[in-house]
Each structure stands twice: as structure tokens, then as C-alpha cells.
Amino acid sequence: MNITMTISDAKYIAMDNINNTVQATIDGQTISVPLDPDNRHYAEILRQVADGTITIEDAD
């Protein structure tokens, strides 16, 4: 069974002008997701970006 996370409001957060986090709402909770492909939330964000379900807003 592939259970899909519901992801919205994804946006990069940068420190020293380098992206280091995606802030997003996943399954109703606002969370900070590191750019680590071993992190299950980031892996799912990448999957949903690849299939066109979501986009990630640029950092401020």
C-alpha cells in the first residue's frame, strides 16, 4: 500500500543564502523538512515535485 502524504505550502528556507530546509504543511502540520533524501518527508516532497503534484516556493 502506498499511502500518500498531503503536502501544501512548501517553501525553501535559506540560511546564508543557501537553501537548507523546506517548510511545508504535511498532513495538517507545519514542519521543517531538511534537504536529506534519507528523510521520509523530503523523499516524499521530491516524489510529489517530480510528478507535478506540488512545487516548492523559493526562499525569501
Binding site: 528556507i13 537548507n20 530546509t21 514542519i31 534537504l35 536529506d36 528523510n39 518527508h41
Partner: protein, 362 residues
């Protein structure tokens, strides 16, 4: 005189259990969550134990319950059905499971010549006699094997031996920090997973229809309860006594995957910080209690529960973001106004409900 160990091929005396928190003693997230059952593959209460739910109308409460077989554990994991689902569609499923990292499974030698048998044991009881299934699902190679077990209203220890999976020498578990094995208790399933013949004899390439034939449903009646504790998975064809573990060791193992702290009002949530280049921003930080499996996802339950303490004043946060690594994290705290650039400060809870959590689960 040195005496040679005569059972050198048996499981080690300590550390033989590949299940983490099998005694159900650690529940960092919550001791009880109600209204569960909606689609999702999530952790709710007892650490490392996850529920995978698909399409069911059944609902349940999941708790860490102070009940266990005497001398084994004072706690168990309890599933309490609160809404029935007796019209079971094909794709429905409820799996209570623990995902296990590949690098913790190398002792099995699975999928190549010399692979070993493994034995699962656990204590279970229920509100009535049910038949459920325990499945070992090889996530690296999409292979599985299932065994049925029965419940009674008293604690019973089941000992289930699984054959070695040599396969054709091409299906080892990855030696890495990714999931390799799911330890699955099937408690409810539709025809997609029950329509075939249960695969009990040996590991085989997955056929969903053969994963859970013959099981009952935990959702058949709101009187249904399921209790589980003393779960062990070890190498070899013998179920040894459940391995007791001190709470500090179990908690540390759990924190590799998840840690959470609720701070009391006024308590510091960071070691210190510095007001950044504006009057509204602070960079602070904290270290994790252990090196985590991966850089964790970080969350605060409500940003207004956190404040910035500076010059004897506390200013409520309007946003908190985190930058995490396996060892530590930065917290960037934003307030509406009023900070002094260059001043020291720290993050502190402004009520008794400020919770930070860090999730590197599989």
C-alpha cells in the same frame, strides 16, 4: 582454563532482539490517541510501532496501557475498536507494524547462501478468540512470508519460526539506514490481501493476495480489543526468553528515530542564541540526545507557545523554522518587533504546552 562457548551460533546474550521497544515502555508522542483509522502510515503512541491504514471505515483508540504479563513488561500496546467495519472492500487494510533498518538486520544474512532462520515471539491477548497474521515483509526485495496466530482472553506467548531465505543469492537486506524489513501484524484486510492462499512455507516474491488470508477483523465489533507486548525477533530457530532492557537503553534506541520534549512554562528550549541582523529574528540551536538515523523533520506544536527571552522580557514568536542535521539543529525564531540587535537571548516556553519534536523515522 578458557572454556569455549558451545552455542556460538546462537543469538547473543545481550542485544539479540532486533525489535526496538518490544516491551512497549516508551511512548514519547502520546500514551493514547483516539479516532484513528483514516488512511495513513503513521506513528501515534508507543515508539517505533506504526499503523498502516487503508480505506477502512473502522476506527480505534491506540494506547500504551499499564497491563502486561507478569515479569515480562508492565506495559502493552492496546488497540480498542470504536467503530465497526463489517463491509470490507477489497483494498482495505490495517497493519500494526515496526519498520527495521537494514544495517540492524545483517546478522540474518538474508537472501544469500548461509542465510539463517529467524524467530519471532510475542505476548498477545484480546477480547475474544481471533486469528490474525504476522508477516515479515522484505522491503528491499519485495518478498514476504506470513504466519497465522490465535488470541485468547489471557496472555499467550507465541513463538514463530521463519525459514531462512537464501533465494537465488540475490536478495540481501541493504546494509544501510533505510528500511529493509517490516514486521507486520495484520488486524484487518480486504480481498486484495486475503483472496489467495496464505504464504507460510517460505519467503516468496510478493503476491498481495497471499499476505493475509484467514485473518479475522479487529473491526468486527466495538467490543474488540487487541493487546501486544514482549515482542522479540532474533536469529536462529529458538525463541529465547524475552530480553529485558533498561529504560535508558530503550529510550536511546527510540530517539535515533524520534525525540520530543514538552517544556514547562519558563523553561529554556535552547542553550542560547543571538539576536540576528534585525529586531525580529533570532538564531538559536540545540543538539539531539543521540545521533539520529537521518536529518530529522522538526516541528513545534504551536509557535505562540515559544518566546524569546531577552533583557528580562519575553516576546512571543510568530514563526519558528528549523535547520536540522543528524546531530543538531538551528532554530530561527521570528517575533513581530522589539528585539535588540546583538543581544544575547534564549528560546523559552511561555506556557506548559510547548512541544518540539524531531522525526527521522523510517
Amino acid at each position: 582454563m578458557t572454556k569455549a562457548r558451545t552455542n556460538a551460533s546462537a543469538s547473543p546474550a545481550v542485544g539479540r532482539n532486533m525489535i526496538i521497544n518490544g516491551a512497549m515502555n516508551v511512548a514519547q508522542r502520546s500514551a493514547s490517541v483516539t479516532g484513528l483509522g483514516a488512511n495513513g502510515n503513521l506513528f501515534h503512541t508507543v515508539d517505533r510501532w506504526k499503523t498502516n491504514l487503508n480505506l477502512t471505515a473502522g476506527r480505534f483508540t491506540m494506547t500504551q496501557t499499564a497491563d502486561g504479563p507478569n515479569g515480562i513488561s508492565a506495559n502493552c500496546l492496546k488497540i480498542d475498536c470504536t467503530t465497526v467495519d463489517t463491509s470490507i472492500a477489497a483494498g482495505e487494510a490495517f497493519i500494526l507494524h515496526q519498520p527495521i533498518e537494514g544495517q540492524n538486520l545483517q546478522r540474518i544474512g538474508k537472501g544469500v547462501a548461509g542465510a539463517k532462520q529467524i524467530t519471532a515471539s510475542f505476548y498477545v491477548k484480546a477480547s475474544a478468540a481471533f486469528t490474525f497474521a504476522l508477516e515479515l515483509f522484505d522491503e528491499d526485495n519485495d518478498r514476504q512470508i506470513s504466519k497465522l496466530f490465535d488470541t485468547t482472553t489471557d496472555w499467550v506467548r507465541h513463538e514463530i519460526i521463519f525459514p531462512a531465505d537464501v533465494d537465488d543469492g540475490s536478495s540481501p537486506f541493504g546494509d544501510d539506514n533505510a528500511i529493509s524489513l517490516d514486521f507486520n501484524f495484520w488486524l484487518h484486510a480486504g480481498a486484495t490481501f486475503t483472496g489467495g492462499t496464505i504464504n507460510t512455507a517460505s519467503f516468496a516474491n510478493n503476491n498481495n493476495a497471499n499476505r493475509a488470508p484467514g485473518i479475522d477483523s479487529i473491526f468486527s465489533n466495538t467490543a474488540n480489543n487487541f493487546f501486544l507486548t514482549g515482542v522479540q525477533l532474533e536469529v536462529g530457530p529458538v525463541a529465547t526468553e524475552f530480553e529485558q532492557e533498561d529504560i535508558g537503553t530503550t529510550l536511546t534506541k527510540c530517539q535515533r528515530y524520534f525525540h520530543s520534549t514538552t517544556f514547562a512554562n519558563g523553561k529554556a528550549a535552547s542553550a542560547g542564541g543571538l539576536v540576528n541582523s534585525s529586531t525580529i529574528g533570532v538564531i538559536s540551536g540545540m543538539t539531539h540526545p543521540v545521533i539520529m538515523r537521518a536529518a530529522p523533520t522538526a516541528a513545534i506544536n504551536d509557535v505562540t507557545h515559544m518566546g524569546v527571552r531577552q533583557r528580562a522580557a519575553v516576546t512571543t514568536c510568530t514563526n519558528v523554522t528549523f535547520g536540522t542535521s543528524q546531530r543538531a539543529c538551528t532554530m530561527e525564531l521570528t517575533v513581530s518587533s522589539g528585539l535588540t540587535v546583538g543581544d544575547g537571548c534564549f528560546a523559552r516556553a511561555i506556557n506548559n504546552s510547548c512541544t518540539l519534536s524531531f522525526d527521522a523515522e523510517l
